[in-house]
Symmetry: C2
Subunit: 234 residues, 2 copies
Protein backbone atom coordinates (compact mmCIF):
# COMPACT_ATOMS: atom_id res chain seq x y z
CA UNK A 1 0.00 0.00 0.00
CA UNK A 2 1.37 3.40 -0.93
CA UNK A 3 2.03 5.64 2.05
CA UNK A 4 1.26 9.34 1.87
CA UNK A 5 2.19 11.93 4.46
CA UNK A 6 0.65 15.38 4.20
CA UNK A 7 2.17 18.30 6.11
CA UNK A 8 -0.38 20.30 8.09
CA UNK A 9 1.08 23.74 7.57
CA UNK A 10 0.26 27.29 8.48
CA UNK A 11 -0.83 26.71 12.08
CA UNK A 12 -0.64 29.78 14.33
CA UNK A 13 1.72 30.06 17.29
CA UNK A 14 0.07 27.99 20.02
CA UNK A 15 -0.51 29.28 23.53
CA UNK A 16 -2.08 27.85 26.67
CA UNK A 17 -5.69 26.91 26.29
CA UNK A 18 -5.75 26.88 22.50
CA UNK A 19 -8.14 24.35 20.97
CA UNK A 20 -5.51 22.18 19.30
CA UNK A 21 -7.88 19.65 17.68
CA UNK A 22 -9.84 22.52 16.06
CA UNK A 23 -6.63 24.14 14.80
CA UNK A 24 -5.42 20.79 13.45
CA UNK A 25 -8.72 20.17 11.67
CA UNK A 26 -8.52 23.65 10.16
CA UNK A 27 -5.02 22.83 8.88
CA UNK A 28 -6.33 19.56 7.44
CA UNK A 29 -8.97 21.55 5.59
CA UNK A 30 -6.43 24.11 4.34
CA UNK A 31 -4.41 21.21 2.93
CA UNK A 32 -7.48 20.29 0.88
CA UNK A 33 -8.01 17.13 2.90
CA UNK A 34 -10.56 15.60 5.22
CA UNK A 35 -9.84 13.07 7.95
CA UNK A 36 -10.48 9.53 6.68
CA UNK A 37 -10.70 6.17 8.39
CA UNK A 38 -7.20 4.66 8.27
CA UNK A 39 -5.39 7.98 8.67
CA UNK A 40 -2.85 8.50 11.43
CA UNK A 41 -2.38 11.97 12.87
CA UNK A 42 1.11 12.93 14.07
CA UNK A 43 1.47 16.01 16.27
CA UNK A 44 4.78 17.36 17.55
CA UNK A 45 4.80 17.53 21.31
CA UNK A 46 5.79 21.19 21.29
CA UNK A 47 2.36 22.48 20.34
CA UNK A 48 0.74 20.01 22.74
CA UNK A 49 2.93 21.25 25.59
CA UNK A 50 2.22 24.87 24.71
CA UNK A 51 -1.54 24.29 24.54
CA UNK A 52 -1.38 22.52 27.90
CA UNK A 53 0.75 25.25 29.46
CA UNK A 54 3.75 22.96 29.97
CA UNK A 55 6.08 25.92 29.51
CA UNK A 56 8.52 27.28 32.10
CA UNK A 57 9.77 30.84 32.40
CA UNK A 58 13.55 31.11 32.73
CA UNK A 59 14.16 33.89 35.26
CA UNK A 60 17.47 35.57 36.09
CA UNK A 61 20.49 33.98 34.39
CA UNK A 62 18.65 32.23 31.57
CA UNK A 63 21.33 29.62 30.95
CA UNK A 64 21.56 28.72 34.63
CA UNK A 65 17.78 28.66 34.98
CA UNK A 66 17.61 26.28 32.01
CA UNK A 67 20.23 23.93 33.51
CA UNK A 68 18.37 23.91 36.81
CA UNK A 69 15.08 23.18 35.07
CA UNK A 70 16.61 20.25 33.20
CA UNK A 71 17.76 18.68 36.48
CA UNK A 72 14.33 19.32 38.04
CA UNK A 73 12.65 17.52 35.12
CA UNK A 74 15.03 14.55 35.37
CA UNK A 75 14.29 11.67 37.68
CA UNK A 76 17.69 10.16 36.92
CA UNK A 77 20.78 11.50 35.20
CA UNK A 78 22.14 8.71 33.00
CA UNK A 79 25.22 10.49 31.60
CA UNK A 80 26.59 13.99 31.77
CA UNK A 81 29.27 15.62 29.68
CA UNK A 82 29.76 19.38 29.92
CA UNK A 83 26.38 20.97 29.35
CA UNK A 84 24.92 17.82 27.85
CA UNK A 85 22.72 15.85 30.24
CA UNK A 86 21.21 12.52 29.18
CA UNK A 87 18.43 11.93 31.65
CA UNK A 88 15.40 9.82 32.35
CA UNK A 89 12.15 11.76 32.52
CA UNK A 90 9.35 10.88 34.92
CA UNK A 91 7.60 9.27 31.96
CA UNK A 92 10.56 6.89 31.63
CA UNK A 93 12.00 8.36 28.41
CA UNK A 94 15.78 8.64 28.17
CA UNK A 95 16.77 11.75 26.24
CA UNK A 96 18.94 14.86 26.19
CA UNK A 97 18.09 17.60 28.69
CA UNK A 98 15.17 15.61 30.11
CA UNK A 99 13.08 16.75 27.15
CA UNK A 100 13.29 20.45 28.08
CA UNK A 101 13.68 22.48 24.89
CA UNK A 102 14.26 26.12 24.07
CA UNK A 103 14.00 25.98 20.29
CA UNK A 104 10.61 27.12 19.00
CA UNK A 105 9.92 28.47 22.50
CA UNK A 106 9.20 32.13 23.24
CA UNK A 107 12.31 34.05 24.37
CA UNK A 108 12.97 33.49 28.07
CA UNK A 109 10.95 30.29 28.18
CA UNK A 110 11.49 26.57 27.72
CA UNK A 111 8.97 23.96 26.65
CA UNK A 112 8.60 20.86 28.84
CA UNK A 113 7.22 17.50 27.81
CA UNK A 114 3.47 17.12 28.23
CA UNK A 115 2.59 15.73 31.68
CA UNK A 116 0.95 12.62 30.20
CA UNK A 117 1.50 12.45 26.42
CA UNK A 118 -0.64 9.31 25.95
CA UNK A 119 -3.51 11.14 27.59
CA UNK A 120 -2.83 14.21 25.39
CA UNK A 121 -2.97 11.95 22.31
CA UNK A 122 -6.19 10.41 23.57
CA UNK A 123 -7.75 13.85 24.11
CA UNK A 124 -6.91 14.97 20.56
CA UNK A 125 -8.21 11.69 19.16
CA UNK A 126 -11.51 11.97 21.03
CA UNK A 127 -11.99 15.62 20.01
CA UNK A 128 -11.36 14.74 16.36
CA UNK A 129 -13.74 11.81 16.63
CA UNK A 130 -16.39 14.11 18.12
CA UNK A 131 -15.90 16.68 15.36
CA UNK A 132 -15.64 14.33 12.37
CA UNK A 133 -17.16 11.03 13.46
CA UNK A 134 -13.90 9.34 12.49
CA UNK A 135 -11.62 7.61 14.97
CA UNK A 136 -7.98 7.91 13.90
CA UNK A 137 -4.87 7.00 15.88
CA UNK A 138 -2.86 9.95 17.20
CA UNK A 139 0.88 10.01 17.83
CA UNK A 140 2.64 12.78 19.78
CA UNK A 141 6.23 13.06 18.53
CA UNK A 142 9.50 14.45 19.87
CA UNK A 143 13.03 14.64 18.54
CA UNK A 144 15.50 12.36 20.33
CA UNK A 145 19.14 11.44 19.92
CA UNK A 146 20.47 7.90 19.83
CA UNK A 147 23.29 6.31 21.81
CA UNK A 148 25.51 5.33 18.89
CA UNK A 149 24.21 7.28 15.96
CA UNK A 150 24.69 10.91 15.05
CA UNK A 151 21.76 13.11 14.19
CA UNK A 152 18.31 13.13 15.67
CA UNK A 153 15.12 11.39 14.62
CA UNK A 154 11.54 11.89 15.69
CA UNK A 155 10.02 9.20 17.88
CA UNK A 156 6.65 8.65 19.56
CA UNK A 157 6.22 9.93 23.12
CA UNK A 158 2.42 9.69 23.14
CA UNK A 159 0.06 7.23 21.48
CA UNK A 160 -3.67 6.66 21.29
CA UNK A 161 -5.71 4.32 19.14
CA UNK A 162 -3.02 1.90 17.99
CA UNK A 163 -0.42 -0.47 19.38
CA UNK A 164 3.07 1.04 19.61
CA UNK A 165 4.80 -2.09 18.39
CA UNK A 166 4.00 -4.59 15.65
CA UNK A 167 4.79 -8.03 17.00
CA UNK A 168 5.64 -10.46 14.20
CA UNK A 169 6.23 -13.39 16.52
CA UNK A 170 4.76 -16.50 14.99
CA UNK A 171 4.86 -15.09 11.46
CA UNK A 172 7.14 -16.50 8.81
CA UNK A 173 9.48 -15.11 6.21
CA UNK A 174 9.26 -15.85 2.49
CA UNK A 175 11.33 -19.03 3.03
CA UNK A 176 9.00 -20.26 5.79
CA UNK A 177 11.44 -19.52 8.62
CA UNK A 178 9.89 -18.03 11.74
CA UNK A 179 10.95 -14.41 12.03
CA UNK A 180 13.56 -13.63 14.68
CA UNK A 181 13.11 -9.90 14.27
CA UNK A 182 9.79 -9.90 15.99
CA UNK A 183 9.06 -6.39 17.17
CA UNK A 184 8.85 -3.37 14.87
CA UNK A 185 8.58 0.03 16.54
CA UNK A 186 5.89 1.19 14.11
CA UNK A 187 4.88 4.26 16.12
CA UNK A 188 8.48 5.49 16.10
CA UNK A 189 8.76 4.85 12.36
CA UNK A 190 5.59 6.84 11.73
CA UNK A 191 6.94 9.73 13.84
CA UNK A 192 10.22 9.64 11.88
CA UNK A 193 8.37 9.58 8.57
CA UNK A 194 6.21 12.54 9.60
CA UNK A 195 9.30 14.56 10.53
CA UNK A 196 10.38 14.38 6.88
CA UNK A 197 7.51 16.69 5.93
CA UNK A 198 7.55 18.90 9.01
CA UNK A 199 10.95 20.50 9.22
CA UNK A 200 12.26 22.03 12.42
CA UNK A 201 11.89 25.70 11.58
CA UNK A 202 8.62 25.85 9.68
CA UNK A 203 5.15 26.34 11.09
CA UNK A 204 4.28 22.72 10.30
CA UNK A 205 3.85 21.04 13.66
CA UNK A 206 1.59 18.21 12.51
CA UNK A 207 1.15 15.76 9.66
CA UNK A 208 -1.50 13.40 8.39
CA UNK A 209 -0.31 9.94 7.34
CA UNK A 210 -2.42 7.84 5.03
CA UNK A 211 -1.95 4.25 3.89
CA UNK A 212 -0.28 2.77 6.97
CA UNK A 213 -1.60 -0.47 8.34
CA UNK A 214 -1.14 0.29 12.02
CA UNK A 215 -0.96 -2.51 14.57
CA UNK A 216 -4.33 -2.79 16.29
CA UNK A 217 -4.60 -2.25 20.00
CA UNK A 218 -4.53 0.45 22.61
CA UNK A 219 -0.81 1.09 23.06
CA UNK A 220 1.10 3.46 25.27
CA UNK A 221 4.30 5.28 24.44
CA UNK A 222 5.99 3.60 27.38
CA UNK A 223 5.54 0.30 25.52
CA UNK A 224 8.48 1.65 23.50
CA UNK A 225 10.66 2.21 26.55
CA UNK A 226 13.02 -0.64 27.30
CA UNK A 227 12.40 -1.78 30.87
CA UNK A 228 15.43 -1.38 33.16
CA UNK A 229 15.92 -5.15 33.48
CA UNK A 230 16.39 -5.42 29.68
CA UNK A 231 18.46 -2.25 29.41
CA UNK A 232 22.19 -2.89 29.01
CA UNK A 233 23.15 0.75 28.47
CA UNK A 234 22.22 2.90 31.41
CA UNK B 1 5.48 19.01 0.27
CA UNK B 2 3.48 15.79 0.46
CA UNK B 3 5.60 12.68 0.82
CA UNK B 4 4.64 9.44 -0.89
CA UNK B 5 6.35 6.10 -0.50
CA UNK B 6 5.59 3.37 -2.99
CA UNK B 7 6.37 -0.25 -2.14
CA UNK B 8 8.30 -2.06 -4.88
CA UNK B 9 6.68 -5.44 -4.58
CA UNK B 10 6.85 -8.80 -6.25
CA UNK B 11 10.61 -9.05 -6.62
CA UNK B 12 11.96 -12.58 -7.04
CA UNK B 13 14.19 -14.29 -4.48
CA UNK B 14 17.63 -12.76 -5.08
CA UNK B 15 20.77 -14.82 -5.54
CA UNK B 16 24.41 -14.05 -6.17
CA UNK B 17 25.03 -12.16 -9.37
CA UNK B 18 21.46 -11.02 -9.94
CA UNK B 19 21.12 -7.67 -11.66
CA UNK B 20 19.52 -5.81 -8.78
CA UNK B 21 19.09 -2.44 -10.52
CA UNK B 22 17.27 -4.14 -13.42
CA UNK B 23 15.02 -6.06 -11.01
CA UNK B 24 14.30 -2.85 -9.07
CA UNK B 25 13.45 -0.97 -12.26
CA UNK B 26 11.14 -3.80 -13.28
CA UNK B 27 9.41 -3.52 -9.90
CA UNK B 28 9.10 0.25 -10.38
CA UNK B 29 7.41 -0.41 -13.71
CA UNK B 30 5.07 -3.04 -12.22
CA UNK B 31 4.02 -0.42 -9.63
CA UNK B 32 2.95 1.75 -12.56
CA UNK B 33 5.73 4.23 -11.88
CA UNK B 34 8.84 5.59 -13.54
CA UNK B 35 11.90 6.96 -11.76
CA UNK B 36 11.69 10.77 -11.53
CA UNK B 37 14.16 13.43 -10.50
CA UNK B 38 13.69 14.02 -6.78
CA UNK B 39 12.88 10.40 -5.97
CA UNK B 40 14.83 8.49 -3.35
CA UNK B 41 15.25 4.74 -3.72
CA UNK B 42 15.43 2.66 -0.54
CA UNK B 43 16.70 -0.92 -0.80
CA UNK B 44 16.89 -3.32 2.13
CA UNK B 45 20.40 -4.59 2.61
CA UNK B 46 19.28 -8.20 2.49
CA UNK B 47 18.80 -8.29 -1.27
CA UNK B 48 22.01 -6.31 -1.77
CA UNK B 49 23.95 -8.81 0.33
CA UNK B 50 22.38 -11.74 -1.50
CA UNK B 51 23.16 -10.24 -4.92
CA UNK B 52 26.74 -9.63 -3.81
CA UNK B 53 27.11 -13.12 -2.36
CA UNK B 54 27.49 -11.88 1.23
CA UNK B 55 25.86 -15.05 2.51
CA UNK B 56 27.45 -17.64 4.79
CA UNK B 57 26.61 -21.34 4.97
CA UNK B 58 26.06 -22.59 8.52
CA UNK B 59 27.63 -26.05 8.64
CA UNK B 60 27.34 -28.63 11.41
CA UNK B 61 25.47 -27.40 14.48
CA UNK B 62 23.61 -24.52 12.88
CA UNK B 63 23.08 -22.58 16.09
CA UNK B 64 26.74 -22.88 17.05
CA UNK B 65 27.90 -21.99 13.54
CA UNK B 66 25.71 -18.89 13.67
CA UNK B 67 27.14 -17.79 17.03
CA UNK B 68 30.66 -18.28 15.73
CA UNK B 69 29.89 -16.31 12.59
CA UNK B 70 28.52 -13.41 14.64
CA UNK B 71 31.74 -13.19 16.61
CA UNK B 72 33.79 -13.42 13.39
CA UNK B 73 31.84 -10.50 11.92
CA UNK B 74 32.29 -8.39 15.06
CA UNK B 75 35.35 -6.22 15.51
CA UNK B 76 34.27 -5.43 19.07
CA UNK B 77 31.66 -6.92 21.37
CA UNK B 78 29.98 -4.02 23.17
CA UNK B 79 27.58 -6.00 25.39
CA UNK B 80 26.60 -9.61 25.69
CA UNK B 81 23.68 -11.17 27.49
CA UNK B 82 22.88 -14.81 26.90
CA UNK B 83 22.65 -15.32 23.17
CA UNK B 84 22.31 -11.60 22.48
CA UNK B 85 25.51 -9.96 21.28
CA UNK B 86 25.64 -6.20 20.68
CA UNK B 87 28.71 -5.70 18.53
CA UNK B 88 30.52 -3.21 16.38
CA UNK B 89 30.89 -4.28 12.76
CA UNK B 90 33.96 -3.49 10.69
CA UNK B 91 31.91 -0.69 9.10
CA UNK B 92 31.56 0.88 12.55
CA UNK B 93 27.86 0.11 13.05
CA UNK B 94 26.77 -1.00 16.51
CA UNK B 95 23.97 -3.55 16.30
CA UNK B 96 22.71 -6.94 17.44
CA UNK B 97 24.58 -9.99 16.18
CA UNK B 98 27.04 -7.87 14.17
CA UNK B 99 24.38 -7.56 11.48
CA UNK B 100 24.31 -11.30 10.72
CA UNK B 101 20.72 -12.34 10.09
CA UNK B 102 18.95 -15.62 9.46
CA UNK B 103 15.45 -14.31 8.73
CA UNK B 104 14.66 -14.18 5.03
CA UNK B 105 17.78 -16.28 4.44
CA UNK B 106 17.75 -19.71 2.81
CA UNK B 107 17.70 -22.59 5.34
CA UNK B 108 21.20 -23.31 6.65
CA UNK B 109 22.51 -19.89 5.67
CA UNK B 110 22.86 -16.43 7.20
CA UNK B 111 23.02 -13.09 5.43
CA UNK B 112 25.92 -10.78 6.27
CA UNK B 113 26.07 -7.02 5.80
CA UNK B 114 27.35 -5.89 2.39
CA UNK B 115 31.11 -5.38 2.44
CA UNK B 116 30.82 -1.68 1.58
CA UNK B 117 27.18 -0.56 1.64
CA UNK B 118 27.94 3.00 0.44
CA UNK B 119 29.65 1.52 -2.57
CA UNK B 120 26.69 -0.83 -3.11
CA UNK B 121 24.34 2.17 -3.00
CA UNK B 122 26.58 4.01 -5.44
CA UNK B 123 26.58 1.06 -7.84
CA UNK B 124 22.78 0.82 -7.84
CA UNK B 125 22.51 4.59 -8.31
CA UNK B 126 24.90 4.58 -11.28
CA UNK B 127 23.13 1.63 -12.92
CA UNK B 128 19.77 3.35 -12.57
CA UNK B 129 21.22 6.54 -13.95
CA UNK B 130 22.64 4.63 -16.90
CA UNK B 131 19.30 2.93 -17.57
CA UNK B 132 16.98 5.91 -17.05
CA UNK B 133 19.13 9.01 -17.36
CA UNK B 134 17.94 10.09 -13.91
CA UNK B 135 20.24 10.42 -10.91
CA UNK B 136 18.39 9.56 -7.71
CA UNK B 137 19.82 9.07 -4.23
CA UNK B 138 19.94 5.48 -3.01
CA UNK B 139 19.75 4.33 0.61
CA UNK B 140 20.54 0.79 1.74
CA UNK B 141 18.56 0.02 4.90
CA UNK B 142 18.82 -2.43 7.75
CA UNK B 143 16.76 -3.10 10.87
CA UNK B 144 18.50 -2.09 14.11
CA UNK B 145 17.57 -2.00 17.77
CA UNK B 146 18.08 0.97 20.05
CA UNK B 147 19.74 1.19 23.45
CA UNK B 148 16.75 2.40 25.46
CA UNK B 149 13.78 1.77 23.26
CA UNK B 150 11.94 -1.46 22.55
CA UNK B 151 11.21 -2.53 19.01
CA UNK B 152 13.34 -2.14 15.92
CA UNK B 153 13.41 0.56 13.27
CA UNK B 154 15.04 0.65 9.87
CA UNK B 155 18.09 2.88 9.51
CA UNK B 156 20.52 3.70 6.69
CA UNK B 157 23.66 1.59 6.39
CA UNK B 158 24.56 2.71 2.87
CA UNK B 159 24.06 6.06 1.13
CA UNK B 160 24.80 7.53 -2.28
CA UNK B 161 23.75 10.83 -3.82
CA UNK B 162 22.69 12.74 -0.70
CA UNK B 163 24.03 13.90 2.63
CA UNK B 164 23.16 11.59 5.53
CA UNK B 165 22.41 14.43 7.91
CA UNK B 166 20.58 17.73 7.52
CA UNK B 167 22.54 20.34 9.45
CA UNK B 168 20.31 23.19 10.57
CA UNK B 169 23.09 25.08 12.33
CA UNK B 170 22.68 28.77 11.63
CA UNK B 171 18.98 28.47 10.83
CA UNK B 172 16.33 29.99 13.07
CA UNK B 173 13.06 28.88 14.53
CA UNK B 174 9.72 30.69 14.04
CA UNK B 175 10.59 32.99 17.00
CA UNK B 176 13.98 33.90 15.52
CA UNK B 177 15.98 31.81 18.00
CA UNK B 178 18.90 29.89 16.53
CA UNK B 179 18.09 26.20 16.50
CA UNK B 180 19.88 24.09 19.10
CA UNK B 181 18.68 20.88 17.53
CA UNK B 182 20.98 21.17 14.55
CA UNK B 183 21.39 17.74 13.03
CA UNK B 184 18.54 15.67 11.64
CA UNK B 185 19.34 12.10 10.62
CA UNK B 186 17.33 12.37 7.41
CA UNK B 187 18.70 9.19 5.84
CA UNK B 188 17.63 7.19 8.89
CA UNK B 189 14.18 8.79 8.85
CA UNK B 190 13.77 7.89 5.17
CA UNK B 191 14.79 4.29 5.90
CA UNK B 192 12.26 4.15 8.77
CA UNK B 193 9.52 5.62 6.58
CA UNK B 194 10.24 3.10 3.82
CA UNK B 195 9.98 0.21 6.28
CA UNK B 196 6.35 1.17 6.86
CA UNK B 197 5.47 0.00 3.34
CA UNK B 198 7.86 -2.94 3.14
CA UNK B 199 6.96 -5.31 5.95
CA UNK B 200 9.30 -8.00 7.17
CA UNK B 201 7.71 -11.06 5.62
CA UNK B 202 6.58 -9.86 2.23
CA UNK B 203 8.50 -9.85 -1.03
CA UNK B 204 8.84 -6.07 -0.87
CA UNK B 205 12.53 -5.40 -0.34
CA UNK B 206 12.59 -1.88 -1.81
CA UNK B 207 10.57 1.32 -1.91
CA UNK B 208 10.48 4.52 -3.90
CA UNK B 209 10.07 7.74 -1.92
CA UNK B 210 8.84 10.87 -3.61
CA UNK B 211 8.54 14.42 -2.29
CA UNK B 212 11.46 14.47 0.15
CA UNK B 213 13.83 17.41 0.02
CA UNK B 214 17.03 15.51 0.73
CA UNK B 215 20.09 17.33 2.07
CA UNK B 216 22.49 17.90 -0.81
CA UNK B 217 25.94 16.39 -0.73
CA UNK B 218 27.72 13.11 -1.09
CA UNK B 219 27.22 11.49 2.30
CA UNK B 220 28.34 8.20 3.73
CA UNK B 221 26.46 5.96 6.10
CA UNK B 222 29.29 6.26 8.59
CA UNK B 223 28.43 9.97 8.88
CA UNK B 224 25.57 8.60 10.99
CA UNK B 225 27.87 6.66 13.31
CA UNK B 226 28.78 8.52 16.47
CA UNK B 227 32.57 8.68 16.71
CA UNK B 228 34.00 6.92 19.79
CA UNK B 229 35.10 10.19 21.37
CA UNK B 230 31.47 11.44 21.39
CA UNK B 231 30.03 8.09 22.40
CA UNK B 232 29.02 7.88 26.05
CA UNK B 233 27.44 4.45 25.83
CA UNK B 234 29.91 1.82 24.75
Amino acid sequence: MTLTIHPLAGMPEITRGDDLPALILAAVGRAGLAIQAGDVLVVTHKIVSKAEGAVAVLTGDEEKAYRTLVLEQAVEVIRRRGDLVIAKTRHGFICANAGVDRSNAAPGTAVLLPRDPDSSAHGIRMAIKAATGIDVPVIISDTFGRAWRRGLTDIAIGISGMAAILDLKGTFDAAGRELHVTEVAVADEIAAAADLVMGKASATPAALARGIEVPAGEGRATDLVRPPEEDMFR
